[in-house]
């Protein structure tokens, strides 16, 4: 649906924000772009949408080159920017109608009514934008982006500054859009958001895409599981018979921590327990832990530095 190849961006300041980025987005998926501040997420989105000029490389939107065939390419895209940039004096209704016209669509009050209701902005339709709260402005920007019925929707940190309940509503909306066949690309700092929403996840750091993977695949491949054993007594060193396991004694000596890959489902736990028993180490309780996407993400980005 969207194909980015060899995309580089050097800003006028000489700063290289993107380094030969390649990315393929599939039709109808929710793609989450994760990365620390300044990684180049907004720059990448800006180039695809035509707000920033690329230094090098090519973007093809559903078969249309976004420079040579910009009309067809852009008509398919809706953009919700990261910054809350809105007019102040326009009414909500006029602002959304304006966006629809700008994208070349004939007026359709019924469609705009549906969107405004979906985003709980209907009772604000005649209000001036400057009287809206931050969260309402965010929703207005989403309404504007949806006004022309785009096939691809970019959400640049859609839930920044949005309360928990509203965030749930927004996820709901994104899912319903996906069900209608809209392709969605979102950036976020909230990893639980990506974990909750995305089909696939891309991680970008310092202008380079360092990983693109199916969400479940990432957790499966890179996720680690830990088994913590709460011991009956204390140990200060491990017996020889247990040297083959990735075992660590927790500070204090009352717990043992066993790390294993989640790929091997059981990870040799039965064998470990048997060997422990034979070594005379008894435990009174145990629990397992699975690393979340957040931990995976942090370690990935750190590794790169």
């Amino acid at each position: 649906m969207l194909s980015v190849s060899n995309l580089s961006k050097v800003y006028a300041s000489g700063f290289q924000a993107l380094k030969r980025v390649n990315l393929e987005i599939r039709r109808g998926e929710i793609f989450a772009l994760l990365g620390p501040n300044g990684a180049g997420k907004t720059t990448l989105i800006g180039i695809v949408c035509g707000v920033v000029t690329a230094t090098e490389g090519r973007v093809v939107v559903d078969g249309h080159d976004n420079v040579r065939d910009y009309r067809a390419a852009r008509a398919k895209i809706g953009l919700v920017p990261q910054e809350l940039t809105t007019d102040a004096f326009e009414s909500v209704w006029n602002a959304v109608s304006f966006s629809r016209g700008l994208f070349g669509k004939p007026p359709n009050p019924a469609h705009i009514e549906t969107i405004l209701k979906q985003l709980s902005l209907w009772d604000k339709k005649d209000n001036k934008i400057m009287t809206l709260s931050g969260g309402m402005k965010r929703r207005l920007l989403i309404a504007k982006a949806l006004s022309h019925e785009p096939e691809i929707l970019f959400l640049d940190e859609p839930t920044a500054g949005v309360d928990v309940e509203l965030r749930r509503d927004m996820w709901e909306l994104v899912r319903s859009l996906r069900d209608k066949g809209v392709t969605i690309i979102l950036t976020t700092h909230y990893i639980e958001e990506a974990e909750e929403m995305a089909d696939r996840i891309g991680v970008i750091s310092r202008g380079e895409i360092i990983l693109v993977e199916d969400k479940r695949e990432i957790i499966r491949k890179l996720g680690r599981k830990q088994l913590t054993l709460h011991l009956q007594g204390k140990v200060d060193r491990l017996p020889e018979s247990l040297a083959g396991y990735r075992l660590e004694i927790a500070p204090g000596g009352a717990e043992l921590v066993y790390t294993y890959d989640s790929q091997s489902e059981s990870g040799g736990i039965p064998a470990l327990l048997r060997d422990l028993h034979e070594a005379g180490i008894e435990f009174k309780d145990l629990n397992t832990d699975q690393s979340s996407l957040e931990e995976i993400f942090v370690s990935l980005v750190r590794e790169k530095r």
């Binding site: 000029t53 940039t85 304006f98 070349g104």
Partner: protein
Amino acid sequence: MNFHAIRAIYKFEMSRTRRTLLQSIVSPVLSTSLYFVVFGSAIGSRITDIDGVTYGAFIVPGLIMLSTLTTSISNASFAIYFPKFTGTIYELLSAPVSYFEIVVSYVGAAATKSLILGLLILGTAHFFVPLKIAHPVWMLTFLVLTAVTFSLFGFMIGIWADGFEKLQMVPLLIVTPLTFLGGSFYSIHMLPPFWQKVTLFNPVVYLISAFRWSFFERADVNVGISLAMTFGFLLLCMAALRWIFKTGYRLKA
């Protein structure tokens, strides 16, 4: 051609004018009327006629031009500068609109506004000084040409400006002096020969001369030359804008 977009931008700009009616229409009409009161009715009678036209009437075309020209620049420059300033320009840049469509809609709206203003001033002038217009069609042609040309010019300033100071600098430091020295208040034949030559480098002289001719059939400069100069300036502005858009100059990072 994305007609829906042109309509949307044009409508948006015109509704912005309605919101600021006092500032964008009422106040220039009022301040220009003061000139008619002072020069037309009060001291105008003490000043001798110029080219057989009473002084009160003589200054009317020049003052209309002056208002049309300055408001064209300020309307158009502000219209494109403001979205750049607030960041809302992202939407325009991401929309399937060509540069031509952007220019047509913004410049069209700015020119419409200053045209309305020019005609309103003409109407008010009528109350204070007796006027007859010898060539109404030419009068309108010159007014439209001026509004469009200087809206284009203002649009360029709006793109070039990266601060409010710059936005005001060109109109204040260049355009205002040129318009005041462009023969709004005098015929250039009243100048010493040397300054008559210098003054011909001022493009505004041609506009005002031609516009005044459409009223009184008296021109400082040949009307054909004036028309050619106006078109020349129009083409120059269009070429410059084309370059700006081709390079993305100051619009895109």
